[in-house]
Subunit: 435 residues, 2 copies
């Protein structure tokens, strides 16, 4: 009996139609990272569980896929822990600072049936600078993120930014207890999703007093341009050390990002930006396309000075950004900017009959050698079949080579979009297909 | 206590030095596949075990990494079974023929401690045409494999070829029993590794009579050019149906490959070529670089008409080739053709002092915007430190921008290879770095 060809829920196949633009997107991403002097790193999918669990503790047990293996192995959950492991493994073999990008799959054992848009396997894309606390690195990562989005077709993307120390200072002012930072950040992070009232409810449910919550809201929901907000908090609360450090650092990071070529209007200070993860220590940011707010954030990152040193006794301050490839792809699709093609082929060379088959192969080869993706149909089947193959694959041109054409020294080229057919010399075909 | 940053044996990290040329290699490979009209497919790492085991049966249990999961999940072992599963899943949504390439990691739970060059995770690179038994497809896959090796720097690679039906016919002539094909092929496949005497021993150990073995050796070790060998077997044993089919098909496949642009002298019929895997049914081939025989085969493939239909009731004849990326990379390294670089950066812009830091950032940005990978040092540290960073990363140029240079409207550019330093205008720098 045949085995049913099932796929585990939350796993995806990428058929050519989707895979072709994804590969092109990745190529642009890699080229951009390289132009900024970041170098690629790759680590294995399988690591020791104790290493993967190093960062997340309990959460690890819930979210990591373990292997049936006596050595205690599991699949990587993110690319941050492998980076920390690599930094410890290679030590001085790596440069300081270490500017690396890494684009690899990660696996998350989400318990619930994955919703629309939640996957158990996805391609994670991280770029980080490890080993410097210079704010130039923060400005560079910010700028790289903004310019990459611009390269990918989102020149008007907005990057919201904030600073964990600044946010922490505002918590002090609002009289939240010292140890509540992680929880408060996790709750505030839901603001976009559940709104002010939802966040309010969660704070109450978590046992925080109404007065703290109200003061906090007043501070973090304040509006104004970057300089207005920074002047306000520094003038009013500048004697709080965290606030004064946060204001100074965020000002500096913005300034450097602008030196790196970022349009100043694309950076928007948002005192309510928290980022959910515990480990951020400085600058934090998230980018989105204001023309497509429903897609959510396209990139996000920040400074995290205490994580990469996890497996070593050296300090390894770090700042980085995650490029949300699935989101970016969704945004490009949503904007109708993904060309629907099922094949890279620009021209299908049809086969007139058995005898002329070699002529068609030679023609396809010459076209390909001129740099144009081409293929020859495999059999002298009825023309109808050959055209319908080209149609199904959205191949834009079909070349026909019969006795007639061979005698005249031409090829009949059919434009599959307009239906027009012309007799052309070989050089004319190349010119046409290159344009 | 710190967790030891160990890596499971047989798993590899790829540091920038290795990862940069690997990414470039992969880019060329993808571009070549696309120029030949093959389209990318990607499937998830995790599949149901019953699907992965469908092909290999017992072997599956030994070689597949299972997950600790009640749904019976495991990691893919190759890209052939996922292709068969996708062909069954998507049916008519895919074109016929379906020309696909797939470049993804696979995992093999090798029991023994992996030897040098044996890995438990590696990047598999397959290109296949599914859904046609036309020998044009065999010729195309053969030619693609030869031309890809040429594009990658192995223009003199030799492709040994044979045909399973032909080999099977020679087994008939040698009076091997009908059901021994798989075993005989597996033993003959070791010829390169263990030599004639080793193969002889294995045949004896497997219980085959001396007379069969001797006749077989006489036939398969016969030397001569392609036409000599084909004429010999077809004249002498042409009444064996398998031999006559094999001869006809291999002749045709060679002819088409030549039409597709393969130099005839690069294709060498070798009647002892067997390929280890059971599933081949027609043309089989393997390529190697005669200048580096110790590296082993760089690509290998053939026709396998009964495997891809595994999960469907339709026939799905297929022909394909595996590109041995690790071997190709080893061959390029071995030939000294991998440039040793730790960073994509072409020029490091140093930082003279705190005050001039923004000028350096702006200069690095202008150079980058002109398309040249560049970065700025993160701090106004002593020049010695900045130069040693460039040195460590093999960055070929360093740009210096002090008060002096700014007043003169120039930049000092130091060539790190020659040690020469020149004062240049911005446009001159771009010209220099582009050359």
């Amino acid at each position: 009996m045949a085995i049913e060809p099932r796929l585990y829920r939350g796993m995806r196949d990428f058929l050519p139609e989707e895979m072709m633009p994804r590969e092109e997107l990745l190529h642009t991403v890699r080229e951009t990272f390289r132009r900024w002097g970041f170098a690629p790193l790759a680590t294995p999918a399988i690591e020791f569980k104790e290493i993967l669990a190093g960062k997340y503790g309990d959460m690890a047990d819930r979210l990591i896929y373990s292997l049936e293996h006596k050595s205690g192995l599991a699949l990587r959950y993110d690319l941050t822990v492998p980076l920390a492991r690599a930094v410890a493994t290679y030590g001085d073999k790596l440069p300081t600072p270490f500017k690396r990008y890494q684009i690899q799959e990660v696996w998350r054992a989400e318990r619930a049936q994955p919703q629309q848009g939640r996957f158990r396997e996805f391609l994670q894309c991280d770029v980080d600078t490890v080993g410097t606390d210079s704010l130039v690195a923060d400005g560079e990562i910010l700028a790289l993120s903004v310019k990459l989005l611009s390269d990918l077709g989102f020149p008007n993307a907005i990057t919201k930014l904030n600073h964990r120390a600044l946010l922490r200072g505002l918590m002090d002012i609002s009289k939240f207890p010292n140890e509540s930072e992680a929880e408060v950040c996790r709750i505030i992070d839901k603001l976009d999703k559940i709104g002010k009232s939802g966040v309010h409810e969660e704070f109450i449910a978590a046992g925080y007093p109404e007065s703290c919550i109200e003061t906090m809201f007043e501070l973090i929901l304040r509006t104004g341009n970057n300089e207005e907000l920074l002047s306000f908090v520094s003038e009013k609360y500048g004697n709080n050390e965290r606030i004064s450090r946060g204001v100074k650092e965020i000002r500096q990071a913005i300034k450097y990002a602008v030196d790196f070529g970022v349009p100043p209007e694309s950076l928007k200070l948002d005192l309510s930006l928290a980022r959910g993860l515990d480990y951020y220590t400085g600058t934090i940011f998230e980018s989105y396309n204001p023309e497509q707010p429903h897609i959510g954030s396209l990139t996000g990152g920040g400074r995290y000075d205490n994580l990469i040193g996890l497996f070593t006794d050296k300090k390894a301050p770090a700042v980085g950004v995650t490029i949300g490839l699935d989101r970016i792809f969704a945004a490009l699709s949503d904007a109708g900017r993904i060309e629907s093609r099922q094949s890279p082929t620009r021209v299908l060379v049809t086969v007139f009959d058995e005898k002329l088959l070699p002529d068609s192969i030679v023609l396809a080869t010459r076209i390909r050698d001129a740099g144009i993706p081409s293929e020859v149909y495999f059999e002298p089947r009825r023309m109808k079949h050959q055209f319908s193959y080209a149609d199904k694959l959205n191949i834009p041109y079909v070349a026909i080579l019969g006795e007639n054409e061979i005698n005249k020294g031409v090829v009949a080229l059919k434009d599959m979009t307009t239906g027009e057919q012309e007799e052309l010399m070989f050089e004319e075909i190349i010119e046409r297909l290159k344009s």
